[in-house]
Symmetry: none
Subunit: 152 residues, 2 copies
């Protein structure tokens, strides 16, 4: 399972290319598609990204549960339809599609934020504002660690 940690601030060049952080690329190594799956996050001005593997599992999960339901239709409409497969070039860069640039207001800098099994791309300022807010809300939220597997 891929794990994305830390935040990186990278430049967007005049062709619209951005380097995906090397550690993120490493976490995606060995997947069927050499790049990322990206779609506009619902409710916040950021881009959600992960490997093609996770998208396939997501697709399968939705497929299992409720075929032809409203929920299925909604998810399909909001996620699958707006998703983009962004391939890495030789240097590990991706090209941000027009729609995603518009959604995030990204201009000359892109902030990559690790989010565990996925990562996000933000306008630097928007992320800082969001993080401030999130820090407050996360106070008092607790997470129970699931029991350790055998070993460790």
């Amino acid at each position: 399972m891929a794990l994305f940690l830390s935040t990186y601030l990278n430049k967007v060049d005049r062709k619209g290319r951005v380097s995906v952080p090397a550690s993120f690329r490493a976490a995606l190594a060995g997947q069927a598609f050499h790049g990322v799956v990206a779609f506009p996050a619902v409710g916040v001005p950021s881009i959600d990204c992960f490997g093609i593997d996770r998208m396939e599992r997501l697709s399968a999960s939705i497929d299992d549960i409720d075929l032809f339901s409203d929920r299925q239709r909604n998810l399909s409409a909001t996620i699958f339809a707006d998703s983009h497969q962004l391939a890495f070039d030789g240097e590990g860069r991706i090209l941000l599609p027009e729609a995603l640039v518009k959604h995030t207001q990204i201009a000359d800098q892109a902030l990559f934020a690790g989010a565990g099994p996925s990562f996000q791309i933000w306008h630097p300022d928007a992320f800082r504002r969001y993080q401030q807010d999130a820090r407050g809300k996360a106070q008092g939220l607790s997470v129970k660690l699931r029991p350790a597997e055998s070993g460790s």
Copy 2:
């Protein structure tokens, strides 16, 4: 399960490198990532550290519960985005990122404090102050031992 005990005071060289105490490195041996996961502790000027295994479990815990929820987003923004994977060099040293140095005010010395399943890195003076305070509050608190598992 890794167990970190005792405290150590090590030098930060001019490149920003610090040796992680050998006993801590030994406790992390055999994990998937040869290094530590580190993030700024909330509320106190220290760095929380543990192995990648623990972070993977944390990621899985959150992943299970709620996909695309606000809760998931808030936690991600505060935990995963602020954490760093710090790899050991050949001599068992790590490089402290700018953000963590700023959070702790660490300059030329770093204090490593064992904390059971995790450990912390402090500015030596800040740790002494914190310890003074904690000793007072610990009066009257008690801990129940959990029954031993088979073996050990």
